[in-house]
């Protein structure tokens, strides 16, 4: 199958949607499909995989209190049209077309079997509210819509008055399961891992530090491994800070601990980090947030602790640190559960969406007869 993917965000700026597009493209290529990705690229010297086509640079536009990076202009439109023309795609798959971005530009300029994945779970999106009517006309061209989570689906049901099939983000299960622990970890004194921004309050790192101090009072050999951007300041005894790490090292971090802790205090809609910990076979302690409770099947696949409560978090960690049998029960449940999120399964479902969309058309993707070049740049 000839598949065209469009990413709204710059390829060289790390982010969830970009990682999703990259993983999906590589899994589909490995299955023998002909895949081309059209994406903005900010750094002109960036090295790109052969399947990537450059659409140009994004333009920072201050909006709604933050800076959105947009790409929308005559030059990009011309590039999109020639990419569509040369690609002769059987199906076009846009990501987050509700943003003012390359994905929307591609939607303006294409017709045929087009599907889209909605990633954002933002119940109060002003962009969506403002753009509703003009967007709706464009989104009517989509043959199929995918939402990556119930929250993302709820967002488009409420703001765009349309529905979507649910296909979650994928996890490379084998990559996490086969990673080697970092040298010297987890050791015999017990090890806890944390992955995420340390200076973002909603990630709950402060709660974890408090809980760690309580745990260490009874367990002098206990260590905490921290991976993620942000400044910790002076790290307390027993805490090892790695800073921001690559995806490969992140997989190793999970494998380096007896217990993975997700002390988040809010703002999580999916909990893919928990799926990665499950894939690595690490026992999980997580805050009792709705999203986490769902992923962990009400505690079947991980220990839940009261949100923002260091005492409760310490107690949950202690339960797992002191019982290898309990850890084995949880990790076995986690492994069984994460199998259905493996990229192999997820990509298979995305392909079924493609085939369903293709069955609704007599030909492949073509350019709209007239170029649409909304000139915002």
């Amino acid at each position: 199958m000839r598949i065209g993917l469009v990413s709204p965000y710059p390829w060289d700026v790390p982010g969830g949607v970009v990682a999703h597009v990259r993983d999906l493209a590589e899994v589909l290529i490995a299955r023998g499909h002909d895949v081309s990705v059209m994406t903005p690229v900010d750094d002109e010297d960036a090295l790109l995989p052969a399947y990537v086509t450059r659409a140009g640079r994004t333009v920072p536009v201050p909006f709604n209190g933050s800076v959105s990076r947009l790409l929308f202009g005559p030059v990009s439109a011309t590039r999109v049209r020639s990419w569509l023309h040369d690609g002769k795609f059987d199906v076009l798959h846009l990501h987050s077309p509700e943003t003012l971005s390359l994905s929307l530009l591609a939607l303006f300029n294409a017709r045929g079997p087009i599907v889209a994945t909605f990633h954002a779970a933002n119940p109060r999106s002003r962009v969506l509210a403002m753009m509703q009517s003009p967007l709706q006309v464009q989104l009517e061209k989509l043959s199929g819509r995918i939402a990556v989570s119930p929250a993302a689906r709820k967002t488009i049901v409420e703001h765009l008055g349309t529905d979507a099939v649910l296909i979650p983000n994928g996890v490379h299960v084998a990559k996490f399961a086969d990673a080697q622990p970092l040298p010297g970890w987890p050791g015999t004194g017990g090890a806890i891992a944390f992955v995420g921004r340390v200076d973002e309050p909603r990630k709950g790192f402060d709660v974890l530090l408090d809980a760690f101090a309580r745990l260490r009072a009874d367990r002098p050999g206990l260590r905490l491994l921290v991976a993620g951007p942000g400044d910790v300041g002076a790290s307390p005894a027993g805490v090892t800070v790695l800073g921001q790490v690559s995806d490969d090292v992140k997989a190793q971090v999970f494998r380096s601990a007896d217990v993975y802790v997700a002390p988040n205090t809010g703002g999580e809609s999916f909990g893919i980090i928990l799926l990665e910990a499950m894939a690595a076979g690490t026992a999980i302690v997580a805050s009792d947030l709705d999203a986490f409770r769902r992923v962990l099947r009400d505690g079947e696949a991980g220990q839940l602790a009261t949100v923002g409560d260091a005492e409760s978090l310490a107690h949950a960690c202690a339960t797992l640190l002191d019982s290898p049998a309990r850890r084995r029960t949880l990790t076995a449940a986690g492994r069984a559960l994460v199998a259905r999120y493996d990229w192999g399964v997820v990509a298979g479902e995305v392909l079924q969406v493609y085939e369903t969309a293709i069955a609704m058309h007599t030909g492949g993707v073509v350019e709209e007869p007239e170029a649409v070049t909304p000139d915002l740049t």
């Binding site: 043959s143 119930p150 349309t162 099939v165 479902e349």
Partner: protein, 167 residues
């Protein structure tokens, strides 16, 4: 007086332009809906045929009672034309029968998932048409022509969809 006439003229032109644009939009939406209906019809047919094949294979020489029921429900579903209420009843009956065999025959998974996608995309197309057709301008000026109001295809496929993920 001239001013009033000019104003009426401008409004009339705007109205005609908007009506033409809406009629074109509706035309596109109906084209998509027709394609979605045809795709759903084909997909339901494939599901019934797969069920028939599965029932035949699992039954072997001595046909078991559940296999006979599945085969009967599949044949009944194949006999109904169109996507009306009687089709919904027949397909729902087949779904209930499939509950018993789907766990035993994993080869049905693929066709079941495709059917659920085809139904969702069909109902999305219905919703998009209805949103525009409920507008006053469309109803008053008959911009939709004689096309009947589309209806959703209601079918409980959640019972069969092992793919459904709660996260």
């Amino acid at each position: 007086m001239d001013l009033v006439l000019a104003l009426v003229g401008v409004l009339a032109v705007l109205h005609v332009a908007y009506s033409l644009w809406t009629a074109k939009r509706l035309d596109r939406l109906h084209t998509r809906l027709d394609a979605a209906r045809a795709a759903l019809d084909r997909q339901l047919r494939q599901r019934a045929e797969a069920a028939l094949a599965s029932a035949g294979a699992s039954a072997g020489a001595g046909r078991s009672a559940p296999a006979r029921d599945v085969a009967a429900a599949a044949r009944a579903a194949l006999d109904v034309r169109g996507l009306g209420h009687d089709r919904e009843v027949a397909e729902n009956a087949l779904s209930r029968m499939l509950l018993d065999v789907a766990d035993a025959d994993l080869s049905m998974d693929d066709v079941i998932t495709r059917t659920s996608f085809a139904r969702r995309f069909h109902n999305d197309a219905v919703r998009d048409v209805l949103v525009v057709r409920r507008r006053r301008i469309v109803r008053w000026f008959h911009l939709a022509g004689r096309a009947p109001l589309p209806t959703y295809f209601e079918m409980d496929d959640s019972v069969l969809d092992r793919r459904t993920i709660e996260v």
